[in-house]
Symmetry: C2
Subunit: 209 residues, 2 copies
């Protein structure tokens, strides 16, 4: 149904999904592109264009079914099923991801966490126990792993990612400040928290001028 979808549209999809979920819990059954646009600070035109990348789901003179559209976008995003995540790195970030309950609430379930630090291996993180990274390959062979969360130092991120790719991992959520080079067909989302702070700093400077 969906042909080429631009990056700009993709980046807006999660916001659509979130607002539709909110509307649903507010008990709103139907919404027009105009109404949704006012809520999301987008033009009605843009909303219709975006939604129509995936086929017509509205009704003329009526608008969109909130529940129907939410479910539809959920399927497009792939959040209608669960994803098994393994975390590499038992530091602050790795632990925070493992302990958060907002990711499992959205279907992203952490199933294992690894580190190479003997001090950390064997210690508990929520329901999980940190495993030795030497057991990583074996684990992937024996279990379903959809996404690898890279919460490791820059120095080893690329090598580790390459190794995980050879083991068949096709999705990476990367917290290391590096642009990973991965083969065609491998999906990656970079978090780059540091860059967000720098952009914030820049905006604050601009405000002062």
């Amino acid at each position: 149904m969906a042909g080429y979808v631009s990056e700009a549209v993709i980046k807006r999809l999660p916001a659509y999904y979130r607002h539709l979920k909110e509307l649903e819990t507010e008990g709103v059954k139907q919404i027009s592109s105009k109404g949704l646009g006012e809520r999301m600070q987008l033009t009605a035109s843009q909303i219709r264009q975006d939604i129509n990348c995936f086929g017509g789901f509205g009704r003329q003179g009526y608008g969109y079914s909130v529940a129907g559209l939410r479910e539809h976008i959920g399927r497009i995003l792939g959040v209608d099923h669960t994803h098994a995540m393994i975390i590499i790195g038992g530091g602050n970030i790795g632990r925070a991801v493992a302990l958060s309950d907002s990711f499992p609430a959205n279907g992203f379930q952490t199933v294992a966490i690894f580190d190479n630090d003997q001090e950390k291996i064997g210690t508990g993180v929520g329901q999980l126990t940190i495993q030795d990274v030497s057991e990583l390959k074996q684990y992937i062979l024996e279990n379903t792993v959809d996404i690898a969360v890279l919460a490791v130092p820059v120095s080893i991120a690329q090598e580790l990612a390459d190794e995980l790719v050879t083991c068949g991992v096709a999705g990476f959520w990367n917290f290391a400040p590096i642009d990973l080079k991965l083969p065609e067909g491998i999906s990656i989302v970079n978090v780059h928290l540091d860059e967000g702070l720098e952009i914030l700093s820049f905006r604050m400077m601009q405000g002062l001028v």
Copy 2:
């Protein structure tokens, strides 16, 4: 020196800064827009356009001084001075931010952390002790606070941000999955980790089609 700078350019600035730092540690003294473009996967033309938003810093026939350009972009980003951050929320995210050493390494220093949970108040997070959120206003009056890190539930994020704005906080790093409405002149960067995971899920689905 800088007039209007587009969002597209702003979002690339931290990557420029990072690559220039890397080049500097590699001992590279000079680089052309072509060379930097190959490294960053951008066109030479785009790099020259971007840099020239802030005034000419290159030399014809030579290129750019790595150290000079890094310093220049650092000043533009405002990372040539330190920023005092307070964290609201002593949960997983708040603690991870407080404990990370990569933020202070870039000049973003956490100076206090607050929570409203009596269980958490008084407990230590690295060098800091979690304070009662009721002391928040007083703290801001008596100390310099550049950035507030919102690591709180969605339900209280907007109200809290409004309050912080009245106390004079002008920069927000928001981890709550909500589009905060803040007055003109207040800078905000949203992290929205959940959305990143959803985009990753989407990309992985696309790959399978």
